[in-house]
């Protein structure tokens, strides 16, 4: 029996009624191509099956462990420096590798000064189940944009990946911009649940951490309601 959109699915379930646009279907986390049956998807994570027109499918669950997916923007901790590559802890089962040459303006002679314990905001270049995830700090035009090393002054907290995703969903969750109206701070929210916060006052950092942790236990509607009160 095939799972339907909006249903709760568990790993091993099949999904067959796939819509495609020009023969292409875009697959987000929690789904895998089924080799045994043509034009069907395997569900690999427990959660709700979601669909976005015209051809995007993904699974939304409450898992605590982060599973890397190509294109994710993550915050990672440098744990080891080996030659030209860094081992970065992004909360997944395996450490990700980040080349020192994958920074803006880096050359063989002039590499960025990254030490063990530093934080990076990077993009996942590839994430196959058989290989270690690979990070980059530049886009396809070799520009850094917002990616790169994060300053040593901030604080790092771990949220659940679900909560991190909720914070980034600006349409439904106004928490970050409401905090931004009141406090002076900068933040890097990784899809992996690692969040780096830096503010002028340490007190503000604690306020933000507290509010992010509290928001985890409230629905988007409640958050929106209480944010509206703060002017």
């Amino acid at each position: 029996m095939s799972t339907k959109i909006g249903d709760f699915a568990i790993p091993g379930d099949l999904f067959t009624e796939i819509k495609s646009h020009k023969g292409v279907t875009i697959v987000g986390p929690g789904l895998r191509r089924n080799e045994e049956r043509p034009n069907s998807l395997f569900i690999t994570q427990p959660g709700k099956l979601c669909f976005k027109a015209p051809n995007v499918y993904w699974i939304e669950g409450r898992r605590k462990r982060y599973i890397p997916k190509k294109g994710d923007l993550v915050v990672g901790i440098v744990t080891k420096k080996a030659g030209d590559t860094l081992r970065v802890d992004i909360g997944s089962a395996e450490f990700a590798s980040l080349s020192l040459l994958a920074f803006e303006g880096a050359t063989k002679k002039q590499k960025p000064d990254a030490q063990v314990g530093d934080l990076v905001y990077a993009k996942l270049l590839n994430a196959h189940k058989e290989m270690e995830p690979e990070l980059v700090c530049i886009d396809s035009y070799s520009k850094a944009g917002r990616l790169g090393l994060l300053s040593n002054e901030g604080f790092l907290i771990n949220l659940s990946p679900l909560q991190a995703n909720r914070l980034l969903d600006v349409d439904n969750n106004p928490l970050l911009r409401t905090l931004g109206r009141k406090l002076v701070f900068e933040i890097a929210v990784g899809v992996n649940g690692k969040v780096w916060i830096n503010a002028k006052k340490t007190k503000d950092v604690f306020t933000i951490i507290k509010s992010l942790e509290l928001a985890e236990k409230h629905s988007d509607k409640d958050i929106m309601h209480s944010c509206r009160k703060i002017k």
Partner: protein, 141 residues
């Protein structure tokens, strides 16, 4: 002609002017047969039953239209805020605009319904306003 497809026409006949279309067809058949023979050992059964949909992997950010998580507020990091102005600020502006409009619509509907209520009350006479109307004596018989 389809029945005796095994019969091959000689090259000189195919070269004749009126055989132009047949010649094209024959050449295509030969080409296809050659191609099949060439790739038959490369196309496996797995490839044949793999289906016709191409699956492309993407991150959750693209699925749910999430924003870039690197943000700065209140002039903490002017560099980041400059980059934010291009996408984040525009998106927030759009949402606020939508929300403002939503609220006014809602209020408008609410206000309108109360107006309708008060006006309709005005047209009701005292008898109709009562919850229970005592049946007249004629109805009892």
């Amino acid at each position: 002609m389809e029945d005796n497809s095994k019969v091959t026409l000689s090259k000189s006949i195919l070269d004749m002017k009126f055989m132009k279309r047949t010649k094209e067809r024959v050449l295509k058949e030969v080409d296809d047969a050659e191609g099949k023979a060439m790739y038959s050992n490369e196309i496996t059964d797995e490839m044949k039953k793999a289906g016709n949909i191409v699956f492309v992997d993407t991150s959750l950010s693209n699925c749910k239209d999430l924003i870039d998580g690197r943000l700065s507020f209140g002039g903490m990091n002017p560099e980041v805020e400059k980059l934010m102005a291009n996408d984040y600020a525009k998106r927030v502006e759009q949402i606020e605009k939508k929300k403002e409009k939503d609220v006014t619509d809602e209020e408008m509907a609410k206000g309108y319904s109360t107006v309708v209520n008060t006006i309709s009350k005005k047209f009701q006479n005292k008898k109709n306003r009562k919850g229970f109307v005592k049946p007249s004596e004629e109805d009892q018989y």
